[in-house]
Protein backbone atom coordinates (compact mmCIF):
# COMPACT_ATOMS: atom_id res chain seq x y z
CA UNK A 1 0.00 0.00 0.00
CA UNK A 2 1.37 3.42 -0.86
CA UNK A 3 0.77 6.51 1.20
CA UNK A 4 -2.05 8.64 -0.07
CA UNK A 5 -1.15 11.58 -2.18
CA UNK A 6 -4.50 13.29 -2.22
CA UNK A 7 -7.74 12.37 -3.86
CA UNK A 8 -11.39 11.72 -3.25
CA UNK A 9 -12.61 9.06 -0.88
CA UNK A 10 -15.62 6.97 -2.03
CA UNK A 11 -17.67 8.83 0.57
CA UNK A 12 -16.97 11.98 -1.39
CA UNK A 13 -14.48 13.37 1.11
CA UNK A 14 -11.18 14.60 -0.15
CA UNK A 15 -8.43 12.83 1.70
CA UNK A 16 -4.75 12.38 1.30
CA UNK A 17 -2.37 11.51 4.06
CA UNK A 18 -4.52 8.86 5.66
CA UNK A 19 -6.18 6.88 2.85
CA UNK A 20 -4.32 3.72 3.75
CA UNK A 21 -5.74 3.86 7.26
CA UNK A 22 -9.19 2.97 5.90
CA UNK A 23 -8.27 -0.65 6.67
CA UNK A 24 -8.07 0.19 10.33
CA UNK A 25 -10.80 2.78 10.45
CA UNK A 26 -13.41 1.17 8.26
CA UNK A 27 -16.69 3.02 7.85
CA UNK A 28 -18.46 0.61 10.22
CA UNK A 29 -15.92 1.39 12.96
CA UNK A 30 -16.16 5.14 12.47
CA UNK A 31 -19.93 4.79 12.55
CA UNK A 32 -20.00 2.72 15.76
CA UNK A 33 -17.35 5.01 17.23
CA UNK A 34 -19.43 8.09 16.60
CA UNK A 35 -22.81 6.55 17.39
CA UNK A 36 -22.26 3.60 19.71
CA UNK A 37 -25.19 1.19 19.95
CA UNK A 38 -26.52 0.14 23.36
CA UNK A 39 -24.77 3.09 24.93
CA UNK A 40 -26.79 3.34 28.13
CA UNK A 41 -27.08 2.04 31.66
CA UNK A 42 -29.22 -0.99 32.41
CA UNK A 43 -30.71 -0.11 35.75
CA UNK A 44 -31.86 -3.68 36.44
CA UNK A 45 -28.68 -5.38 35.26
CA UNK A 46 -27.92 -8.86 36.55
CA UNK A 47 -24.21 -8.44 36.07
CA UNK A 48 -21.98 -5.40 35.76
CA UNK A 49 -18.27 -4.80 35.46
CA UNK A 50 -15.81 -2.04 34.82
CA UNK A 51 -12.91 -2.12 32.41
CA UNK A 52 -9.97 0.24 32.52
CA UNK A 53 -7.04 0.84 30.30
CA UNK A 54 -4.91 2.80 32.73
CA UNK A 55 -2.39 3.70 30.07
CA UNK A 56 -4.76 5.78 27.99
CA UNK A 57 -7.67 6.39 30.36
CA UNK A 58 -10.20 4.37 28.38
CA UNK A 59 -12.92 3.16 30.66
CA UNK A 60 -16.12 1.22 30.13
CA UNK A 61 -18.90 0.09 32.37
CA UNK A 62 -20.74 -2.96 31.12
CA UNK A 63 -24.27 -4.07 32.03
CA UNK A 64 -25.76 -7.48 31.32
CA UNK A 65 -29.31 -8.65 31.71
CA UNK A 66 -29.80 -12.41 31.73
CA UNK A 67 -32.82 -14.53 30.77
CA UNK A 68 -34.14 -17.01 33.34
CA UNK A 69 -32.43 -19.85 31.46
CA UNK A 70 -29.04 -18.08 31.57
CA UNK A 71 -28.75 -16.43 28.16
CA UNK A 72 -27.66 -12.82 27.71
CA UNK A 73 -30.93 -10.96 27.22
CA UNK A 74 -29.44 -7.51 26.90
CA UNK A 75 -26.02 -5.91 26.95
CA UNK A 76 -25.22 -2.22 27.23
CA UNK A 77 -22.29 -0.05 28.13
CA UNK A 78 -21.19 3.40 29.05
CA UNK A 79 -17.79 5.00 29.24
CA UNK A 80 -15.20 6.88 27.30
CA UNK A 81 -12.59 5.86 24.85
CA UNK A 82 -11.14 6.06 21.39
CA UNK A 83 -13.02 5.15 18.21
CA UNK A 84 -11.59 1.61 18.28
CA UNK A 85 -12.54 0.82 21.87
CA UNK A 86 -15.97 2.43 21.57
CA UNK A 87 -16.75 0.65 18.31
CA UNK A 88 -15.52 -2.63 19.71
CA UNK A 89 -17.74 -2.31 22.79
CA UNK A 90 -20.68 -1.31 20.62
CA UNK A 91 -20.25 -4.28 18.26
CA UNK A 92 -19.75 -6.59 21.22
CA UNK A 93 -23.03 -5.63 22.86
CA UNK A 94 -24.76 -6.40 19.58
CA UNK A 95 -23.13 -9.76 19.00
CA UNK A 96 -23.43 -11.27 22.49
CA UNK A 97 -27.17 -10.84 22.84
CA UNK A 98 -28.90 -14.22 22.93
CA UNK A 99 -25.65 -16.04 23.69
CA UNK A 100 -24.92 -18.21 26.69
CA UNK A 101 -21.98 -17.06 28.85
CA UNK A 102 -19.89 -19.90 27.38
CA UNK A 103 -20.67 -18.85 23.82
CA UNK A 104 -19.94 -15.21 24.64
CA UNK A 105 -16.58 -16.14 26.11
CA UNK A 106 -15.74 -18.30 23.13
CA UNK A 107 -16.60 -15.41 20.85
CA UNK A 108 -14.34 -13.18 22.94
CA UNK A 109 -11.45 -15.64 22.67
CA UNK A 110 -11.84 -15.81 18.91
CA UNK A 111 -12.09 -12.06 18.69
CA UNK A 112 -8.88 -11.58 20.67
CA UNK A 113 -7.16 -13.96 18.26
CA UNK A 114 -8.52 -11.91 15.37
CA UNK A 115 -7.38 -8.64 16.90
CA UNK A 116 -3.89 -9.91 17.61
CA UNK A 117 -3.21 -11.80 14.40
CA UNK A 118 -5.67 -10.43 11.86
CA UNK A 119 -6.87 -13.96 11.20
CA UNK A 120 -9.28 -16.35 12.85
CA UNK A 121 -8.47 -19.95 12.02
CA UNK A 122 -11.60 -21.54 13.56
CA UNK A 123 -14.12 -18.94 12.65
CA UNK A 124 -16.06 -21.20 10.32
CA UNK A 125 -18.10 -22.80 13.10
CA UNK A 126 -21.21 -21.87 15.02
CA UNK A 127 -20.17 -18.29 15.60
CA UNK A 128 -19.21 -17.50 12.01
CA UNK A 129 -21.93 -14.88 11.53
CA UNK A 130 -20.92 -13.05 14.69
CA UNK A 131 -17.25 -13.20 13.78
CA UNK A 132 -18.02 -11.75 10.41
CA UNK A 133 -19.64 -8.79 12.12
CA UNK A 134 -16.46 -8.27 14.12
CA UNK A 135 -13.97 -8.59 11.25
CA UNK A 136 -13.89 -4.83 10.54
CA UNK A 137 -11.77 -4.64 13.71
CA UNK A 138 -9.18 -7.11 12.42
CA UNK A 139 -7.07 -4.21 11.10
CA UNK A 140 -5.83 -3.42 14.62
CA UNK A 141 -3.40 -6.33 14.51
CA UNK A 142 -1.08 -4.10 12.49
CA UNK A 143 -1.08 -1.57 15.32
CA UNK A 144 0.26 -3.35 18.42
CA UNK A 145 -0.33 -0.33 20.64
CA UNK A 146 -4.00 -0.32 19.68
CA UNK A 147 -4.88 -4.01 20.11
CA UNK A 148 -5.86 -3.48 23.72
CA UNK A 149 -8.26 -0.74 22.68
CA UNK A 150 -10.16 -3.37 20.73
CA UNK A 151 -10.01 -6.06 23.42
CA UNK A 152 -10.92 -3.93 26.46
CA UNK A 153 -14.67 -4.54 26.06
CA UNK A 154 -14.18 -8.29 25.82
CA UNK A 155 -12.00 -8.41 28.93
CA UNK A 156 -14.72 -6.45 30.66
CA UNK A 157 -17.34 -8.93 29.45
CA UNK A 158 -15.39 -11.81 30.99
CA UNK A 159 -15.20 -9.91 34.26
CA UNK A 160 -18.98 -9.44 34.25
CA UNK A 161 -19.64 -13.08 33.44
CA UNK A 162 -17.14 -14.33 36.04
CA UNK A 163 -18.35 -11.89 38.68
CA UNK A 164 -14.88 -10.39 39.14
CA UNK A 165 -16.27 -6.91 38.45
CA UNK A 166 -13.07 -5.32 37.20
CA UNK A 167 -10.90 -5.79 34.17
CA UNK A 168 -7.83 -4.11 32.85
CA UNK A 169 -6.40 -4.35 29.38
CA UNK A 170 -2.89 -3.48 30.48
Amino acid sequence: MTPGTGGVHPSGRTTGLFDDLRDLYQEVILDHGRKPRNFRRLEDADATSRGDNPMCGDRIELFLKMTPDGHIADAAFQGRGCAISTASASLMTETVKGKTPEQAKELGAKFRELAMTGACPDCGGDLSDEMERLTPLSGVHEFPSRVKCATLAWHTLNAALDGTKEASSE
Partner: protein
Amino acid sequence: MDAIPAVTFDVARIRQDFPILSQTHRGRPLVFLDSGASAQKPRAVIEAMVRCMETAYANVHRGAYRLSELATDSYEAARAATARFLNAADPREIVFTRNSTEAMNLVAHSWGRGVMKPGQAVLISELEHHANIVPWQMLRDDKGNELRVCRVTDSGELDMEDLARKLADGKVGLVAVAHMSNVLGTVTPVERIVALAHAHGAKVLLDGSQAAVHRRVDVQAIGCDFYCFTGHKLYGPTGIGVLWARLEHLDRMPPFLGGGDMISSVTFEKTEWAPVPAKFEAGTPPIIEAVGLHAAIDYVTAIGMTAIETHERALVDHAMGRLSEVPGLTLLGRAQDRGGVFAFALDTAHPHDLATLLDRAGIAVRAGRHCAEPLHARFGLENGTTRASFGLYTTKEEVDLLARAVTEAREFFK
Protein backbone atom coordinates in the same frame (compact mmCIF):
# COMPACT_ATOMS: atom_id res chain seq x y z
CA MET B 1 16.32 38.21 29.37
CA ASP B 2 19.15 40.66 28.93
CA ALA B 3 21.19 41.11 25.79
CA ILE B 4 20.38 38.04 23.77
CA PRO B 5 23.28 37.83 21.35
CA ALA B 6 22.51 37.74 17.64
CA VAL B 7 23.18 34.07 17.16
CA THR B 8 23.03 32.06 14.03
CA PHE B 9 21.11 28.95 14.90
CA ASP B 10 21.40 26.64 11.92
CA VAL B 11 18.74 24.02 12.51
CA ALA B 12 19.58 22.17 9.29
CA ARG B 13 23.15 21.71 10.43
CA ILE B 14 22.03 20.71 13.92
CA ARG B 15 19.73 18.06 12.48
CA GLN B 16 22.75 16.47 10.80
CA ASP B 17 24.17 15.83 14.26
CA PHE B 18 21.29 13.44 15.01
CA PRO B 19 21.63 10.19 13.03
CA ILE B 20 18.05 9.08 13.72
CA LEU B 21 16.58 12.17 12.05
CA SER B 22 17.79 11.02 8.65
CA GLN B 23 15.52 7.99 8.91
CA THR B 24 12.36 7.71 6.90
CA HIS B 25 9.24 6.39 8.50
CA ARG B 26 6.68 4.67 6.26
CA GLY B 27 8.33 6.36 3.30
CA ARG B 28 8.19 9.80 4.84
CA PRO B 29 10.82 11.77 6.75
CA LEU B 30 10.58 11.20 10.49
CA VAL B 31 8.91 14.13 12.23
CA PHE B 32 9.80 13.53 15.84
CA LEU B 33 7.58 15.59 18.11
CA ASP B 34 7.93 13.61 21.31
CA SER B 35 11.12 15.09 22.69
CA GLY B 36 9.33 16.03 25.91
CA ALA B 37 9.06 12.30 26.64
CA SER B 38 12.62 11.57 25.58
CA ALA B 39 14.90 13.38 23.17
CA GLN B 40 16.98 11.97 20.35
CA LYS B 41 20.75 11.67 20.68
CA PRO B 42 23.43 13.57 18.79
CA ARG B 43 26.41 11.71 17.40
CA ALA B 44 28.65 13.40 19.98
CA VAL B 45 26.80 11.60 22.80
CA ILE B 46 26.72 8.25 21.03
CA GLU B 47 30.42 8.42 20.19
CA ALA B 48 31.47 9.55 23.64
CA MET B 49 29.77 6.54 25.20
CA VAL B 50 31.28 4.15 22.67
CA ARG B 51 34.72 5.72 23.16
CA CYS B 52 34.38 5.30 26.92
CA MET B 53 33.59 1.62 26.54
CA GLU B 54 36.28 1.05 23.96
CA THR B 55 39.12 2.92 25.60
CA ALA B 56 38.55 4.01 29.16
CA TYR B 57 36.09 1.76 30.91
CA ALA B 58 36.40 0.18 34.33
CA ASN B 59 34.59 0.57 37.62
CA VAL B 60 35.13 3.85 39.42
CA HIS B 61 36.43 4.94 42.81
CA ARG B 62 38.23 1.73 43.67
CA GLY B 63 40.69 0.31 41.21
CA ALA B 64 44.33 1.04 41.85
CA TYR B 65 45.02 0.80 38.17
CA ARG B 66 45.19 3.11 35.21
CA LEU B 67 41.84 2.28 33.57
CA SER B 68 39.89 2.68 36.77
CA GLU B 69 41.58 6.01 37.37
CA LEU B 70 40.64 7.11 33.85
CA ALA B 71 37.02 6.05 34.36
CA THR B 72 36.92 7.80 37.74
CA ASP B 73 38.26 10.96 36.15
CA SER B 74 35.60 10.79 33.43
CA TYR B 75 32.84 10.20 35.94
CA GLU B 76 33.92 13.07 38.18
CA ALA B 77 34.44 15.32 35.14
CA ALA B 78 30.79 14.68 34.27
CA ARG B 79 29.84 15.81 37.77
CA ALA B 80 31.89 18.98 37.39
CA ALA B 81 30.34 19.68 33.97
CA THR B 82 26.85 19.18 35.42
CA ALA B 83 27.69 21.57 38.26
CA ARG B 84 28.79 24.20 35.74
CA PHE B 85 25.67 23.57 33.64
CA LEU B 86 23.46 24.46 36.62
CA ASN B 87 25.91 27.03 37.99
CA ALA B 88 26.14 25.05 41.20
CA ALA B 89 28.55 26.41 43.79
CA ASP B 90 30.31 23.08 44.26
CA PRO B 91 30.46 19.82 42.25
CA ARG B 92 29.74 17.90 45.47
CA GLU B 93 26.22 19.30 45.24
CA ILE B 94 25.58 17.08 42.21
CA VAL B 95 24.19 13.62 42.96
CA PHE B 96 23.76 11.25 40.04
CA THR B 97 20.56 9.21 40.11
CA ARG B 98 18.77 7.01 37.58
CA ASN B 99 16.41 9.75 36.38
CA SER B 100 14.58 12.76 37.82
CA THR B 101 11.90 10.50 39.29
CA GLU B 102 14.58 8.87 41.42
CA ALA B 103 16.00 12.27 42.32
CA MET B 104 12.63 13.38 43.69
CA ASN B 105 12.15 10.10 45.50
CA LEU B 106 15.58 10.57 47.03
CA VAL B 107 14.53 13.94 48.43
CA ALA B 108 11.17 12.60 49.62
CA HIS B 109 12.80 9.66 51.39
CA SER B 110 15.90 11.22 52.74
CA TRP B 111 15.06 14.87 53.34
CA GLY B 112 11.32 14.29 53.74
CA ARG B 113 11.70 11.53 56.32
CA GLY B 114 15.02 12.49 57.83
CA VAL B 115 15.06 16.28 58.01
CA MET B 116 11.56 17.66 57.55
CA LYS B 117 9.54 17.82 60.74
CA PRO B 118 6.55 15.50 61.14
CA GLY B 119 4.00 18.33 61.31
CA GLN B 120 5.21 20.08 58.19
CA ALA B 121 3.33 20.03 54.92
CA VAL B 122 4.47 19.60 51.32
CA LEU B 123 2.99 21.99 48.78
CA ILE B 124 2.85 20.83 45.16
CA SER B 125 0.66 22.08 42.30
CA GLU B 126 -2.02 20.83 39.94
CA LEU B 127 0.35 20.87 36.99
CA GLU B 128 2.80 18.32 38.38
CA HIS B 129 3.99 15.17 36.68
CA HIS B 130 3.16 12.05 38.71
CA ALA B 131 6.86 11.89 39.65
CA ASN B 132 6.35 15.04 41.71
CA ILE B 133 3.05 13.86 43.22
CA VAL B 134 3.38 10.22 44.18
CA PRO B 135 6.58 10.43 46.31
CA TRP B 136 4.90 13.10 48.46
CA GLN B 137 1.72 11.05 48.77
CA MET B 138 3.87 8.15 49.94
CA LEU B 139 5.54 10.45 52.46
CA ARG B 140 2.14 11.64 53.65
CA ASP B 141 0.82 8.10 54.02
CA ASP B 142 3.99 6.98 55.77
CA LYS B 143 4.74 9.94 58.04
CA GLY B 144 1.57 11.98 58.04
CA ASN B 145 3.00 15.09 56.37
CA GLU B 146 0.06 16.95 54.90
CA LEU B 147 0.02 17.34 51.11
CA ARG B 148 -1.27 20.63 49.76
CA VAL B 149 -1.98 21.40 46.13
CA CYS B 150 -1.65 24.85 44.58
CA ARG B 151 -4.27 25.60 41.94
CA VAL B 152 -3.60 26.28 38.29
CA THR B 153 -5.44 29.08 36.49
CA ASP B 154 -7.52 28.49 33.35
CA SER B 155 -4.66 29.79 31.22
CA GLY B 156 -2.41 27.15 32.76
CA GLU B 157 -0.33 29.24 35.13
CA LEU B 158 0.32 28.67 38.81
CA ASP B 159 -2.23 30.59 40.85
CA MET B 160 0.27 32.63 42.86
CA GLU B 161 -2.41 33.94 45.21
CA ASP B 162 -3.38 30.38 46.02
CA LEU B 163 0.29 29.56 46.56
CA ALA B 164 0.59 32.46 49.00
CA ARG B 165 -2.59 31.40 50.79
CA LYS B 166 -1.36 27.84 51.20
CA LEU B 167 1.98 29.06 52.57
CA ALA B 168 0.45 31.61 54.93
CA ASP B 169 0.22 29.48 58.10
CA GLY B 170 3.96 28.73 57.97
CA LYS B 171 3.38 24.98 58.17
CA VAL B 172 4.75 24.17 54.73
CA GLY B 173 8.23 22.67 54.90
CA LEU B 174 8.72 22.16 51.18
CA VAL B 175 7.32 23.60 47.98
CA ALA B 176 7.86 21.08 45.17
CA VAL B 177 6.85 22.31 41.72
CA ALA B 178 7.80 21.92 38.10
CA HIS B 179 10.02 24.55 36.51
CA MET B 180 8.16 23.84 33.27
CA SER B 181 4.99 21.82 32.79
CA ASN B 182 5.27 18.73 30.60
CA VAL B 183 1.68 19.27 29.44
CA LEU B 184 0.93 23.00 29.46
CA GLY B 185 4.40 24.18 28.50
CA THR B 186 4.08 26.74 31.28
CA VAL B 187 7.35 28.00 32.66
CA THR B 188 6.71 28.75 36.31
CA PRO B 189 7.97 31.94 38.00
CA VAL B 190 10.59 30.14 40.02
CA GLU B 191 12.32 33.20 41.52
CA ARG B 192 8.99 34.46 42.87
CA ILE B 193 8.08 31.01 44.16
CA VAL B 194 11.41 30.75 45.97
CA ALA B 195 11.08 34.22 47.50
CA LEU B 196 7.57 33.49 48.70
CA ALA B 197 8.40 30.03 50.02
CA HIS B 198 11.56 31.13 51.82
CA ALA B 199 9.69 34.04 53.40
CA HIS B 200 7.37 31.44 54.93
CA GLY B 201 10.13 29.10 56.04
CA ALA B 202 9.68 26.53 53.28
CA LYS B 203 12.41 25.00 51.15
CA VAL B 204 11.91 24.67 47.40
CA LEU B 205 12.39 21.72 45.08
CA LEU B 206 12.13 22.33 41.35
CA ASP B 207 11.42 19.56 38.88
CA GLY B 208 13.52 20.75 35.98
CA SER B 209 12.96 17.71 33.75
CA GLN B 210 11.50 19.89 30.99
CA ALA B 211 12.98 23.31 31.78
CA ALA B 212 16.64 22.31 31.89
CA VAL B 213 16.38 21.27 28.26
CA HIS B 214 15.01 24.57 27.03
CA ARG B 215 16.41 27.27 29.29
CA ARG B 216 19.66 28.21 30.94
CA VAL B 217 19.29 27.19 34.56
CA ASP B 218 21.22 28.97 37.29
CA VAL B 219 20.36 27.37 40.60
CA GLN B 220 22.16 30.07 42.57
CA ALA B 221 20.28 32.86 40.83
CA ILE B 222 16.97 31.03 41.26
CA GLY B 223 17.81 30.44 44.89
CA CYS B 224 16.06 27.09 45.21
CA ASP B 225 17.13 24.26 47.52
CA PHE B 226 16.77 21.22 45.27
CA TYR B 227 16.76 20.94 41.49
CA CYS B 228 16.20 17.75 39.48
CA PHE B 229 16.59 16.90 35.82
CA THR B 230 17.19 13.86 33.68
CA GLY B 231 19.79 13.02 31.07
CA HIS B 232 17.63 11.45 28.39
CA LYS B 233 15.49 14.53 27.81
CA LEU B 234 18.67 16.64 27.43
CA TYR B 235 19.83 14.63 24.39
CA GLY B 236 21.82 12.36 26.71
CA PRO B 237 21.36 8.69 27.55
CA THR B 238 18.70 7.03 29.65
CA GLY B 239 19.69 5.75 33.08
CA ILE B 240 21.15 8.93 34.49
CA GLY B 241 19.43 11.74 36.32
CA VAL B 242 20.64 14.60 38.45
CA LEU B 243 19.79 15.89 41.88
CA TRP B 244 21.32 19.19 42.76
CA ALA B 245 20.95 20.24 46.39
CA ARG B 246 22.73 22.73 48.58
CA LEU B 247 25.58 21.12 50.51
CA GLU B 248 24.02 22.13 53.82
CA HIS B 249 20.97 20.01 52.93
CA LEU B 250 22.91 17.04 51.59
CA ASP B 251 25.11 17.01 54.69
CA ARG B 252 22.09 16.75 56.96
CA MET B 253 20.25 14.16 54.91
CA PRO B 254 20.49 10.46 55.76
CA PRO B 255 21.41 8.13 52.87
CA PHE B 256 18.71 6.93 50.47
CA LEU B 257 20.03 3.53 49.42
CA GLY B 258 22.63 1.49 51.27
CA GLY B 259 25.47 -0.44 49.73
CA GLY B 260 28.95 -0.10 48.40
CA ASP B 261 30.57 3.23 47.57
CA MET B 262 28.37 5.18 49.98
CA ILE B 263 30.25 4.26 53.16
CA SER B 264 33.52 5.15 54.74
CA SER B 265 33.65 2.15 57.07
CA VAL B 266 31.46 -0.85 57.73
CA THR B 267 31.41 -3.24 60.66
CA PHE B 268 28.40 -5.33 61.59
CA GLU B 269 27.86 -3.00 64.53
CA LYS B 270 28.10 0.32 62.78
CA THR B 271 28.54 1.92 59.41
CA GLU B 272 29.87 5.37 58.75
CA TRP B 273 28.59 7.19 55.71
CA ALA B 274 30.85 8.48 53.03
CA PRO B 275 30.86 12.25 52.53
CA VAL B 276 28.51 13.75 49.94
CA PRO B 277 27.85 13.08 47.15
CA ALA B 278 29.10 9.47 47.52
CA LYS B 279 26.71 9.02 50.46
CA PHE B 280 23.85 9.11 47.94
CA GLU B 281 25.44 7.02 45.21
CA ALA B 282 25.25 3.45 46.46
CA GLY B 283 26.59 0.74 44.24
CA THR B 284 28.24 1.04 40.85
CA PRO B 285 26.98 4.28 39.38
CA PRO B 286 25.92 4.94 35.77
CA ILE B 287 29.46 5.47 34.53
CA ILE B 288 28.95 5.28 30.77
CA GLU B 289 25.76 7.27 31.11
CA ALA B 290 27.61 9.99 33.02
CA VAL B 291 30.06 10.22 30.14
CA GLY B 292 27.10 10.49 27.76
CA LEU B 293 25.47 13.17 29.88
CA HIS B 294 28.74 15.10 29.93
CA ALA B 295 28.85 14.96 26.13
CA ALA B 296 25.22 16.11 25.94
CA ILE B 297 25.92 19.04 28.24
CA ASP B 298 28.97 19.97 26.17
CA TYR B 299 26.84 19.69 23.03
CA VAL B 300 24.04 22.03 24.15
CA THR B 301 26.51 24.36 25.82
CA ALA B 302 28.49 24.71 22.60
CA ILE B 303 25.31 25.66 20.75
CA GLY B 304 24.38 27.85 23.69
CA MET B 305 21.34 27.52 25.94
CA THR B 306 20.42 31.10 25.13
CA ALA B 307 20.55 30.38 21.39
CA ILE B 308 18.43 27.27 21.94
CA GLU B 309 15.93 29.30 23.93
CA THR B 310 15.76 31.99 21.25
CA HIS B 311 15.19 29.39 18.50
CA GLU B 312 12.50 27.69 20.55
CA ARG B 313 10.73 30.94 21.38
CA ALA B 314 10.32 31.64 17.68
CA LEU B 315 9.13 28.08 17.15
CA VAL B 316 6.64 28.34 20.02
CA ASP B 317 5.19 31.56 18.59
CA HIS B 318 4.94 29.92 15.20
CA ALA B 319 3.22 26.85 16.66
CA MET B 320 0.78 28.94 18.69
CA GLY B 321 -0.26 30.63 15.45
CA ARG B 322 -0.47 27.48 13.35
CA LEU B 323 -2.30 25.36 15.90
CA SER B 324 -4.76 28.18 16.62
CA GLU B 325 -5.75 28.03 12.95
CA VAL B 326 -6.73 24.35 13.14
CA PRO B 327 -10.52 24.16 13.42
CA GLY B 328 -11.84 22.23 16.40
CA LEU B 329 -8.49 22.21 18.20
CA THR B 330 -8.37 23.23 21.84
CA LEU B 331 -4.90 24.01 23.07
CA LEU B 332 -4.21 23.35 26.72
CA GLY B 333 -2.15 26.07 28.38
CA ARG B 334 -1.82 29.64 27.25
CA ALA B 335 0.67 30.86 29.78
CA GLN B 336 2.54 34.09 29.10
CA ASP B 337 5.84 32.29 29.54
CA ARG B 338 5.72 28.90 27.86
CA GLY B 339 8.00 26.47 26.11
CA GLY B 340 7.70 24.00 23.27
CA VAL B 341 5.13 21.59 24.65
CA PHE B 342 1.68 21.60 23.05
CA ALA B 343 -1.06 19.39 24.42
CA PHE B 344 -4.38 19.68 22.68
CA ALA B 345 -7.79 18.13 22.24
CA LEU B 346 -9.52 17.79 18.89
CA ASP B 347 -13.30 17.88 18.62
CA THR B 348 -13.75 14.92 16.26
CA ALA B 349 -10.95 12.58 17.31
CA HIS B 350 -9.83 10.83 20.46
CA PRO B 351 -6.13 11.44 21.20
CA HIS B 352 -5.20 7.82 20.49
CA ASP B 353 -6.96 7.76 17.15
CA LEU B 354 -5.31 11.04 16.24
CA ALA B 355 -1.86 9.75 17.25
CA THR B 356 -2.35 6.66 15.09
CA LEU B 357 -3.18 8.86 12.11
CA LEU B 358 -0.29 11.21 12.72
CA ASP B 359 2.03 8.23 12.99
CA ARG B 360 0.94 7.27 9.50
CA ALA B 361 2.02 10.72 8.34
CA GLY B 362 5.43 10.07 9.88
CA ILE B 363 4.70 12.31 12.86
CA ALA B 364 5.55 10.88 16.29
CA VAL B 365 3.45 12.44 19.06
CA ARG B 366 2.31 11.21 22.42
CA ALA B 367 -1.34 10.58 23.30
CA GLY B 368 -2.77 10.14 26.76
CA ARG B 369 -2.45 11.97 30.01
CA HIS B 370 1.33 12.29 29.99
CA CYS B 371 1.76 11.20 33.61
CA ALA B 372 -0.35 14.19 34.67
CA GLU B 373 -3.77 12.68 35.35
CA PRO B 374 -4.85 15.27 37.95
CA LEU B 375 -4.02 18.09 35.53
CA HIS B 376 -6.18 16.55 32.80
CA ALA B 377 -8.99 16.10 35.33
CA ARG B 378 -8.56 19.78 36.27
CA PHE B 379 -9.25 20.74 32.66
CA GLY B 380 -12.03 18.18 32.23
CA LEU B 381 -10.05 16.16 29.69
CA GLU B 382 -10.37 12.62 31.04
CA ASN B 383 -9.71 11.25 27.56
CA GLY B 384 -6.30 12.86 27.69
CA THR B 385 -4.68 14.97 25.03
CA THR B 386 -2.38 14.65 22.07
CA ARG B 387 0.97 16.21 22.79
CA ALA B 388 3.61 17.56 20.44
CA SER B 389 6.84 18.52 22.15
CA PHE B 390 9.85 20.13 20.56
CA GLY B 391 13.57 19.69 20.69
CA LEU B 392 16.34 21.94 19.44
CA TYR B 393 16.13 20.10 16.09
CA THR B 394 12.43 20.87 15.54
CA THR B 395 11.68 23.03 12.51
CA LYS B 396 8.87 25.37 11.49
CA GLU B 397 8.20 23.06 8.54
CA GLU B 398 7.54 20.20 10.96
CA VAL B 399 5.12 22.38 12.88
CA ASP B 400 3.36 23.26 9.62
CA LEU B 401 3.12 19.59 8.69
CA LEU B 402 1.65 18.81 12.11
CA ALA B 403 -1.00 21.50 11.70
CA ARG B 404 -1.89 20.26 8.21
CA ALA B 405 -2.04 16.63 9.31
CA VAL B 406 -4.23 17.42 12.34
CA THR B 407 -6.58 19.40 10.10
CA GLU B 408 -6.82 16.48 7.72
CA ALA B 409 -7.25 13.98 10.53
CA ARG B 410 -10.14 16.04 11.83
CA GLU B 411 -11.89 15.62 8.48
CA PHE B 412 -11.14 11.88 8.52
CA PHE B 413 -13.09 11.39 11.74
CA LYS B 414 -15.84 13.88 10.97
